[in-house]
């Protein structure tokens, strides 16, 4: 099966998955205890009649299945609905918030990959030496420490105590420097990085620790493989063995983990966005849930689910691309 056909096939496979997610999310959101209309009318000198009028205005007096079908009919036409709590289109709300989240998640991934792979390789190469012991302890701490706690500690140390880095907010590289009062793009770039460092580390530490453990294990396994022993017997330099023979094979599980951990990273972003006051999709999602803003909950869930599905498909494609043993046909 060719790449294009395989990709098309995988995307078609994703449609029922997304429909399933939409049904589940819609039902769960609507079954959540609470009344969004009463919540919305807090403070308004309201009576029962007014409550019913507002319910009717937003269609909340109609059966759930009718509302779901209406929502899906709108969705296929590109209408993600209306946030009744914020009185804005869901699509525009998501569009305004997705940038910071992607910046955060992608930079956290970059941090995780850039740190975990070299550290994993070195740990594998120096197995049972002090570096390996330290890296394992670091990895264990990274896996077992909640990201929000790491974030709070980073703020306390590097922002409050030392004053080296900002305690909150991101500087958006896609906004002009003038918005922030920066003198040119160099300062804008530097400030973007300064604001990104702490949340990136907080969110990326879990990924880093996970990937480092896997990288180390895979590299140890690779370095013990018959083909490596053969290469050594032929006198192939150790650096070449590491780079050409052991490394490439060891990356296959890493690719899988990177793809599948996207949802974990997006979930972690909710808390990190709160801790660092980042105005992203995660914070919006949290508030949508608190406010029982059904269409906003649906919209964000569908976007995250779509991103996750795309991430998995790309992972599969990359997997087949890297490992010659995996063909597109087999991967079906």
């Amino acid at each position: 099966m060719g790449l294009l056909r395989y990709t098309t096939y995988r995307f078609l496979q994703a449609i029922p998955v997304l429909i399933g997610i939409s049904i589940l999310t819609f039902v769960l959101a609507n079954l959540t205890p609470g009344d969004p209309v009463r919540l919305m009318l807090q403070g308004v000198e309201a009576d029962q009649e007014m409550i019913e009028q507002v319910e009717a205005r937003y269609g909340l007096d109609r059966p759930m299945h009718e509302r779901y079908l209406d929502y899906m009919a709108g969705l296929v036409q590109g209408d993600m609905g209306h946030s009744f709590h914020r009185n804005q289109d869901v699509a525009s709300l998501i569009a305004s918030r997705i940038g910071p989240t992607l910046l955060l998640v992608l930079s956290a991934y970059a941090f995780a990959l850039v740190t975990s792979i070299p550290l994993g390789i070195i740990a594998a190469k120096r197995r049972n030496e002090p570096f390996d012991h330290v890296s394992r302890i670091v990895a264990l701490l990274g896996v077992s420490t909640p990201s929000f706690w790491i974030g709070i500690m980073l703020i306390l140390i590097f922002a409050v105590q030392l004053g080296w880095l900002p305690s909150a907010d991101l500087v958006y590289p896609w906004w002009s420097p003038e918005v922030y009062g920066h003198d040119g793009y160099l300062e804008h770039f530097v400030e973007t990085i300064r604001h990104l460092v702490l949340p990136m580390i907080a969110l990326g530490t879990l990924q880093m620790a996970t990937l480092m453990r896997v990288e180390r294990t895979q590299m140890i396994e690779s370095l013990q493989g018959e083909y490596v022993k053969l290469a050594r017997a032929y006198g192939v330099p150790e650096r070449t063995i590491l780079r050409k023979h052991a490394f490439q094979v060891a990356q296959l599980p890493i690719i899988t983990i990177v793809g599948l951990n996207l949802s974990t990273a997006l979930g972690g972003a909710v808390l990190i966005e709160f801790v660092f006051n980042i105005n992203g999709l995660g914070r919006l999602f949290y508030e949508a849930i608190i406010q029982l803003d059904y269409q906003l909950i649906m919209g964000i869930t569908m976007i995250i689910a779509t991103m996750f599905v795309i991430g998995v498909i790309i992972t599969d494609i990359a997997y087949a691309y890297i490992d010659p043993r995996v063909t597109y046909g087999e991967a079906e």
Binding site: G34, G43, A168
Partner: protein
């Protein structure tokens, strides 16, 4: 009703109690928590109010960043806006017909003196000052004021109820306006006539555009706005009134997480933050370069009993619960300087600002004292089963849930129990109005009114609000509900005062609700921010400029 309102125009303060709940809220300030009524004085918020400090040079161009504790709804049109954090921005852009002073008394602003009252409070005639201009250069006229009064009802906005008593307005001339009410309305002279004045022509030309790029006649005008991100205001140099602000630019951003807001002020990443949580008070106060500013507020937290079903339909059971714990100790231990205990549904500042002169000392005498023996005796005499475990519901993760747990533990100590349930706000608002004893026998909520007691009595006790804004379903003795309505529809403050005294004493006697505490309005600012004063109303912070302050930055 659910939560906190800025009662001046009944704007929503927090859309959710849980938004700010991600910080640890389990801490307590001082005290051993054993419930002894040890008589310690609760710290006085006046310790966090400071004398004026004025700069040497008057011609200043300072800039200030202000962090808000919740996201704004981004409605900046006073006719539409119903959240206090949009109002914080809005109140610097618009002038009011009458403005609230630092103790919530109304003073003429755009109005030229107090109105002439006619027809026993059914008609008011306002004189408008001449020469006041909006930011676009148009003069403020009586027609603009009339539109500001009537538009919320005509357009059925969330603010409609605040102006629903207005029957008609008549523009006598450009600077004279007659407002006719359907009936005398007690809060009119204390609340309603504090309306923000909007330019009718500009607003009605494009309401949506006006909502996000408003034009007022206040000391600041819109400079930049990014939806969901920030609002920047700049000083309007042609402002008609004195003094002109020292601050040239002010930027509003939201930081809903308490811990982050505190970290930002401690790290010096921002200038001023709104709301210092009680749990963070010591840390902020201990910082060398940060100053806490506080003010009494018209907030009212209360414990309400289900008078519709269950054991709490018996007034003696309610009284017993009141005797089972010490509110004074709870406030002292959990809230410290961030709140004051209450002895009635009327916060202290409401009593003072409206010159009500209510018999607060007498009411304090009527409040149940901590007396577990009496509580036990009352419950036994009332025939309450030994396995009674009332359900107490409260917003999760804050002092009200802590208070619910305190009551539960005290009931346990005297041989009963309690099922304390902290709930998300969305769940709570759908639960506390059912009147079903299986759902709750007690609930803890709050309300923020203003200088007029009607905001508390009508919304929280009148029968018309049963199942909507109140879930105690107290039927009252005799004229209870009529008294509340009569006080609302009277312009005679003496009559109203007597009616409210009767109503309050019945509440304290029959106890459908036990007053709990009033949380103060607080801000924390970097030390270099000078002449900043917390206002009792959330929506007026940061005030920046008034006849009692002109905030500046000591660089």
């Amino acid at each position: 009703m659910g939560t906190n309102l800025n009662g001046l125009t009944r704007r929503r303060v927090l859309t959710s109690g849980a938004v700010t709940a991600s910080v640890a809220l389990a801490g307590c300030i001082g005290g051993n928590g054993n419930g002894d009524d040890n008589g310690d004085d609760v710290a006085d918020i006046s310790e966090y109010q400071y004398d004026r400090e004025e700069p040497d040079d008057e011609d200043r161009s300072d800039s200030l960043e202000f962090l808000q504790p919740a996201e704004r709804d981004e409605d900046f049109d006073p006719v539409v806006s119903f959240d206090s954090y949009s109002a914080q921005v809005m109140n610097l852009v618009f002038d009011n017909l009458y403005e609230w002073d630092d103790e919530m008394g109304l003073e003429p602003k755009i109005a030229d003196g107090m109105p002439e009252e006619q027809d026993d409070g059914e008609t008011y005639v306002f004189e408008i000052k001449e020469g006041i201009e909006f930011h676009n250069g148009d003069e403020v006229t009586a027609a603009d004021v009339a539109h500001s009064f009537t538009a919320p009802v005509e357009e059925e906005t969330d603010n409609a109820a605040s102006y629903a008593m207005i029957e008609s307005t008549e523009v006598i001339d450009d600077h004279t306006l007659e407002v006719n009410l359907e009936h005398p309305y007690g809060p009119f002279t204390m609340v309603t006539m504090g309306v923000e004045v909007v330019p009718e022509d500009v607003r009605t030309d494009d309401r949506d555009a006006f909502n996000t790029d408003p034009i007022g006649s206040g000391p600041f005008q819109f400079a930049d706005f990014q939806q969901g991100e920030y609002v920047e205001l700049e000083r309007w140099d042609d402002y008609w009134d004195e003094p002109h602000p020292h601050i040239e630019e002010i930027r509003f951003e939201a930081a809903p997480d308490d811990a982050n807001r505190i970290a930002q002020i401690l790290a010096g990443d921002t200038d001023v933050i709104d709301t210092v949580p009680a749990t963070e008070w010591d840390e902020v106060e201990g910082a060398d370069d940060v100053v806490i500013h506080g003010s009494r507020s018209p907030s009212y937290m209360y414990l309400a009993f289900n008078c519709n079903e269950g054991e709490t339909t018996n007034p003696d059971v309610r009284r017993a619960v009141g005797h089972s714990f010490s509110m004074h100790d709870f406030v002292n231990e959990h809230l410290g300087p961030a709140a004051d205990p209450l002895v009635s549904p009327v916060p202290e500042i409401t009593n003072d600002s409206g010159d009500w002169d209510f018999p607060v000392d007498d009411w304090a005498e009527m409040m149940p004292e901590y007396d577990p023996d009496q509580a036990q005796e009352l419950l036994e005499d009332a025939g309450v089963p030994e396995d009674w475990e009332p359900t107490i519901i409260a917003p999760e993760g804050g002092p009200r849930e802590a208070l619910a747990e305190r009551i539960g533990s005290r009931l346990t100590e005297i041989g009963y129990g309690a099922d304390v349930q902290g709930m998300s706000f969305a769940t709570l608002v759908d639960t506390y109005t059912t009147g079903n004893a299986d759902d709750y026998e007690m609930y803890l909520l709050g309300w923020t009114g203003g200088p007029d007691p009607d905001a508390y009595f009508y919304n929280l006790f009148h029968e018309s609000q049963e199942g909507v804004g109140q879930g105690h379903f107290y039927e009252g003795q005799g004229d209870f509900h009529d008294s509340i309505m009569n006080a609302r529809q009277s312009a005679d403050q003496d009559d109203r005062r007597e009616l409210y005294i009767d109503v309050t004493e019945e509440i304290l006697d029959y106890m459908p609700v036990l007053p709990a505490y009033s949380e103060h309005n607080t801000m924390a600012a970097r030390e270099e921010v000078k002449d900043l004063h917390a206002h009792p109303a959330v929506s007026f912070n940061p005030r920046i400029v008034s006849n009692y302050q002109n905030t500046w930055i000591d660089e």
